[in-house]
């Protein structure tokens, strides 16, 4: 199985995002860094193998896992039932984010329903677009990357940008965005899950253990601070819940 293969190869191949600061992004050397690569490094260290990172995008990450191109996926993937059918999303989830928007202060949105018929920038294929579009009737204008979307927002091509709340919050701390705010309540708080291929029970159990361990020792909260974002309520809650509970280590 995968675990044996990894040990035999001496490398763990993990699919991460490379265009999602701070979870996974490039440094000028061309290496992928960020919260998720650091988590992947933890896993590799625990197994005592080398780490190989493979950049993935939303449209290919599940295929890669399914084909066996990557052993493990830590790629900001929202835990959803339909995806659980395709890949094995582990319990517990390691992270969570809510959907929110930033908009010009002058736009004066008060509740999500105000977005009805309003052009809202988003990222093509992102999970956050979904509810905004389906339930609140916003017109999603999808771009390929966050820079494009933010630029479009600045240009006034859309009234707001819908994305994950922690990313947006960290943007708002920058001077450039002082004209903007996050006027709405975060909704749709959705957990992110690590994923492995279906049928890899041993590896799945091991990885579940890893996630529990991260929650126990507050690793994720630590990383959030390191990369300069406010710890999300989810990670804090998980840390509180799990601390004191010492998991049985495997592998």
């Amino acid at each position: 199985d995968v675990l044996d293969k990894v040990m035999e190869r001496g490398t763990l191949v993990v699919g991460v995002k490379a265009d999602y600061k701070p979870y996974g992004f490039l440094n000028p050397d061309g290496d992928i860094v960020g919260i998720e690569p650091d988590l992947a490094q933890d896993v590799a260290d625990t197994l005592g193998v080398e780490l190989e990172l493979v950049p993935v995008v939303a449209s290919n990450r599940m295929q890669f896992l399914d084909q066996g191109k990557i052993d493990l996926m830590i790629a900001t993937m929202t835990d959803r039932p339909d995806r659980r059918k395709v890949v094995n999303i582990l319990n517990p989830d390691y992270y969570s984010s809510g959907t929110n928007i930033i908009a010009r202060k002058s736009a004066e949105f008060d509740e999500w329903e105000d977005l009805e018929g309003v052009p809202v920038c988003g990222i093509q294929g992102a999970f956050y677009n979904r509810k905004t579009q389906r339930e609140f009737g916003a017109k999603i204008v999808g771009f390929t990357g966050t820079s494009e979307a933010l630029n479009a927002l600045q240009q006034g091509r859309c009234a707001a940008f819908v994305y994950d709340d922690s990313f947006l919050a960290s943007r708002l701390q920058e001077a450039e965005w002082s004209e903007y705010n996050m006027p709405l309540q975060t909704i749709d708080d959705a957990p992110w899950g690590l994923a492995v291929k279906h049928g890899e029970e041993r590896f799945a159990r091991f990885m579940s253990g890893m996630v529990v361990k991260w929650h126990v020792d507050g690793r994720i909260v630590e990383l959030e601070k390191e990369y300069g974002i406010k710890p999300t309520p989810f990670t804090q809650r998980m840390h509180e819940l799990f601390s004191g509970f010492v998991p049985k280590e495997e592998g």
Partner: protein
């Protein structure tokens, strides 16, 4: 019977293959007496390139001037090595794709002029299909339908993304090369076939000794044009996540998280391509002048 001009010029995918006018003829004869195509990069060509750089930088500075953060050019400079590396990757993909596409396309093109109707029809269908399908869609297909590794006699041959992308790009190249070959062969006057035949050359000998050598000169310009088009199409690989210059640019932009960098970065990518493709285009043009008229 189709008109000769149509046969000669109507069958490639490339717009520049037209009979040269007399002005071109004169220039061509001048170049022929010189013996080499004159690749003149005149001053104004440099001016155009410089203008693009300045435009990009100025636009960026205008946007970034208000910021207290490091200047746009500094930010760009930091990433240049990575982007150039990515661009080299594009060039590598284009070379490989062109190689594969040309090899397959030549075979397909020769099949298109086969004497056997089924072979002719089959290769025609294949050519038309791959010629009419958008590059991007073919790329997606190769990405998702090919396995990431092959097992050959117990050996695991990895099949990385960029190879798949290369294959995906070489499919349309193949179709275009096939058309170029067919067009070139059909543009050779039938008298050449007859003359060779009446000298007792076999069909194979005729093709190899008489027809193809004459075709090569005619195929060179459209072939190089195709190469430039392929090079520009390599950015499509970004859509399927291959780490070429466009993908890297997008990743860099999200790493920088500074929307005002968008314009200079894309400007820089434009510049990279222009600096690579423009000399090729000039050279192709020279070749065209030399060869389309010579025969």
């Amino acid at each position: 019977m189709r008109a000769a001009g149509e046969r000669l010029y109507g069958t490639t995918d490339l717009p520049v293959l037209l009979p040269p006018g007399e002005r071109l003829l004169r220039r061509a004869s001048r170049e022929r007496t010189d013996g080499v195509p004159r690749l003149t990069l005149k001053a104004w060509h440099g001016a155009v390139i410089a203008a693009v750089v300045l435009l990009a930088a100025a636009a960026a500075q205008a946007q970034g001037a208000a910021e207290a953060r490091p200047g746009v050019l500094t930010a760009l400079w930091k990433w240049v090595p990575l982007l150039v590396e990515g661009f080299l990757f594009n060039i590598a993909i284009s070379f490989l794709g062109m190689g594969i596409g040309t090899a397959l396309g030549t075979v397909l093109g020769v099949m298109q002029i086969s004497l056997l109707p089924p072979v002719r029809a089959g290769s025609w269908i294949v050519t038309q299909f791959f010629r009419n399908a958008p590059w991007l869609v073919l790329l997606f297909f190769c990405m998702f339908l090919l396995p990431f590794e092959f097992r050959v006699m117990g050996f695991v041959v990895p099949f990385p993304d960029w190879v798949k992308a290369t294959l995906g790009l070489s499919l349309p190249v193949m179709a275009n090369v096939s058309e170029i070959v067919r067009g070139a062969v059909q543009s050779i006057p039938s008298g050449q076939w007859e003359a060779a035949e009446s000298l007792a050359f076999s069909r194979r000998q005729t093709l190899v000794q008489i027809i193809l050598p004459q075709c090569i000169k005619r195929m060179l310009p459209p072939w190089m044009n195709l190469y430039a088009i392929l090079t520009m199409a390599t950015v499509l690989a970004s859509v399927v996540g291959v780490s070429e210059v466009m993908t890297l640019t997008q990743r860099v932009l999200s790493a920088e998280s500074r929307p005002e960098l968008l314009v200079p970065f894309y400007g820089f990518v434009l510049l990279l391509f222009f600096m690579y493709c423009y000399p090729i285009a000039r050279f192709t043009h020279k070749l065209e002048l030399r060869y389309v008229v010579k025969l």
